[in-house]
């Protein structure tokens, strides 16, 4: 197993900080009856996230933002 220490720390650390936002809302929110307003808001998340990801992939990363990214 050729796994270097620094890479192992990167993997463990990034896995942990990715896991927490993934599981926390599911574990906490699924225990409560959420208010209607919040559910109505959450229902729009799928379309909103997918549209944003598509725009980011196709419009920003491949075109207009090249100059922006190189600044920071």
């Amino acid at each position: 197993m050729d796994i270097r220490w620094n890479i192992l720390i990167i993997i463990m650390g990034s896995a942990l900080v990715t896991l927490i936002p993934r599981v926390l809302p599911l574990v906490v929110l699924s225990r409560f009856q959420l208010p209607n307003g919040l559910i109505r808001w959450l229902q729009h998340i799928p379309v909103a996230v997918m549209a944003a990801l598509i725009a980011q992939e196709l419009l920003i990363q491949r075109g207009i933002s090249h100059s922006i990214n190189s600044n920071g």
């Binding site: 896995a15 809302p25 909103a48 944003a52 933002s65």
Partner: protein
């Protein structure tokens, strides 16, 4: 009795596996590309496999490879990946009402394998009037997870012969998959114009935000704002009844 039987059949592991199939090409090609990029950045195949097994997030793994190649500090890499994957907070919250009453442990298992794609498939399932259960979600997630793991390992093994994976158009598999999931989501909506406005405002906000914020922050801002727009429109047009 008949109804019960159908409900049980719907929440089956096998059905979850089947419902994952349309997204497999995306997982395989993106995973392969992630493996190639990992190899190019100097990671070993074991490191690539461990990263896929534990981190299990495409965008995070691409960024990790890029930053490792650039010899960025460990703390900066971890913080950047945290930021990029923060949108899972929204996905996890949005899917939570559908797993109400499930034990914390089961919710933890589902959440740990939540991706943009599995979330998209699950929410399309909901939008088309079907219910999602624990076993179905597990079948969907496990299939995606295994394919991702194997694809990144394959990319790591073959990576040295493919220095520029983007030449083969593999990087277009990701947006293609998101477009497919979005179209399905819109297709199953009752009032089409509301999600259309949400999608359009999300696109405009993420483009606007890209001039000020990093890409992942832009996605979060766009998702939060355009969902709010959608919720407000829905409240106005339906007098509070959803």
């Amino acid at each position: 009795m008949e109804l019960n039987h159908q409900a049980i059949q719907k929440d089956s592991f096998i059905q979850g596996v089947k419902d994952c199939v349309p997204t497999l090409l995306g997982y395989l090609s993106i995973g392969f590309a992630a493996g190639v990029v990992g190899k190019t950045s100097g990671m070993s195949v074991s490191e690539i496999a461990l990263m896929s097994a534990l981190l299990y997030a495409g965008s995070g793994q691409f960024i990790a490879a890029g930053m490792i190649a650039a010899s960025s500090p460990i703390s900066a890499i971890i913080f950047t990946i945290f930021f990029i994957n923060l949108r899972h907070l929204l996905l996890s919250a949005a899917i939570a009402p559908h797993f109400k009453g499930l034990s914390s442990w089961k919710n933890l298992v589902i959440g740990s394998q939540l991706t943009d794609e599995s979330f998209g498939v699950a929410m399309n399932h909901v939008a088309s009037g079907k219910t999602i259960g624990y076993r179905w979600m597990l079948g969907l997630n496990m299939t995606a997870y295994l394919n991702w793991l194997l694809a990144t390992i394959a990319g790591g093994l073959l990576g040295k012969w493919i220095p520029h994976p983007e030449v083969y158009g593999l990087d277009f598999a990701l947006p293609a998959m998101f477009i497919g999931l979005l179209v399905l989501q819109l297709h199953s909506s009752k009032k089409l114009w509301v999600p259309m406005i949400v999608a359009l405002s999300s696109v405009l906000i993420v483009i606007g935000a890209s001039y000020i914020f990093t890409g992942s922050m832009g996605v979060i801002i766009a998702a939060v704002l355009s969902s709010t727009i959608g919720a407000v429109i829905q409240k106005w047009t339906s007098d509070g009844t959803s």
